[in-house]
Point group: C2
Chain length 262, copies 2
């Protein structure tokens, strides 16, 4: 993925992308030599490519000489349909949920074997979480992730188990049998919990959002202090997720509906 | 910017970036031949580069054969500091503002001679606007844009005027003298209005967010139905913008403050 091996045959395109791949939420800024190392490139090549990227706006170089991701890459990236379309449909429902609870509201989708957070609402009173918009978290330790495991092809659960169930806190489910049982329950109840399994002090409840074809599109969650009664919020999350699901499905008869609406 | 001229000496990096530059909110998906045309490339070259970009995750190809921006470009792009840091500080204040008003709340920064929208909150009752997250709008026709004109170097206003003041609606200020007078007033009152100047039916009030060094960082706005009393919301926007400004400035004496806080 990262292109971290030296191959004389690597194309210029690969080299350019390896520079972008060097950035992550853990490493949001890099020096030129860090960039060169991450891309397995001579410093002179890294400098030339970083200059092209900076001129275009994919990177920006700050006064301290460090490179950051540039705003143009952000606004081009924001054209990704998964982000743009789903976010605009889900946002009003997420707002309602926030207003009703004042807790963290999170929207996540599957990205390979991880949950990718598309959007997040949190007020000044909400509990601190590890979630960042555009950040990834493991599937087995999060409420949104368990929803993804429950409503994806069964091979995903097997793959996640095969990779090993990392212990994020002492409450994380690390036994494959226990996880399989939990996921079967999630499939039945259409609700998933994470009880301090990702972050000590925070619990979550998540519900699925389905597309018009009935497949899972995303997962919506509330994350609250673990002292709160997270079960009591399940109905609110489910209601909001059903609202988004309904918006994603075309009405049964458009002609009839539009007559009533207009 | 777009690399739309045929130059035999164009580097591979330039060609790759010209494919990404082909996407915009008006053209969020393209066929292979549209991509080739936008990048001024032979179809075979465009195909090879688009394949590299798709494998990396910068593009995705849908079942209908059209290319879209890929999720990986979105989450790498979201590492841009202007977006990430400012958004996380501003979000709780934007939430408060939304909850108090249930109107559109928008956060914008300057991007060259346009306003770039970093974030937006809108509920189901909020008035429809042209604003998209990661989208651009002109400076002279928007509340956030007038704030940017008022608190940037004077050359910006001159440049915007020199480019011509496009008429977005029949209420848009298109006379340079009137715009200059308006901007002088904005500088004095630290509030900017757009009264159906961008979208008929929608008006906005905007206030500046300053950084620790006193320079403009961003602009915060409420966008409401033009039938509403937008002036009555000025104090709310100003309060929220002052709150963000305060958070962006380090406390006068950290030692003293941290003692009280802990």
């Amino acid at each position: 993925m990262g292109g971290n091996t030296r191959e004389p045959s690597r194309s210029a395109a690969d080299r350019l992308l390896s520079l972008l791949a060097a950035f992550s939420s853990d490493r949001p800024s890099l020096t030129l030599s860090e960039l060169a190392e991450a891309g397995s490139l001579p410093v002179s090549t890294a400098h030339r490519l970083a200059t092209v990227l900076t001129e275009w706006g994919a990177l920006e170089r700050h006064a301290d000489g460090r490179f950051h991701i540039g705003l143009r890459l952000w606004y081009v990236g924001a054209l990704a349909p998964g982000h743009r379309d789903l976010r605009s449909v889900a946002m009003p429902f997420m707002e309602d949920l926030y207003e009703a609870t004042h807790e963290n509201v999170q929207l996540a989708i599957r990205d390979g074997k991880r949950a990718l957070y598309l959007d997040k609402i949190s007020g000044s009173q909400s509990v601190a979480t590890l979630t960042e918009v555009a950040g990834h978290l493991p599937l087995h330790a999060t409420g949104v992730g368990k929803i993804i495991l429950a409503f994806s092809e069964p091979r995903l659960l097997a793959d996640v188990v095969a990779d090993g169930l990392a212990r994020c806190t002492r409450h994380t489910i690390t036994l494959p049998g226990v996880l399989a049982e939990t996921i079967a329950q999630v499939r039945e109840t259409r609700l998933a919990y994470s009880l301090e399994e990702m972050t000590v002090g925070a619990s979550s409840v998540a519900a699925p959002i389905f597309g018009a074809d009935g497949t899972l599109v995303a997962s919506l969650a509330l994350v609250v202090r673990s002292s709160a009664n997270v079960q009591a919020l399940a109905a609110a999350v489910r209601t909001a997720a059903l609202g988004v699901t309904r918006q994603l499905s075309p009405p049964i008869s458009t002609g009839w509906k539009s007559k009533l609406d207009r």
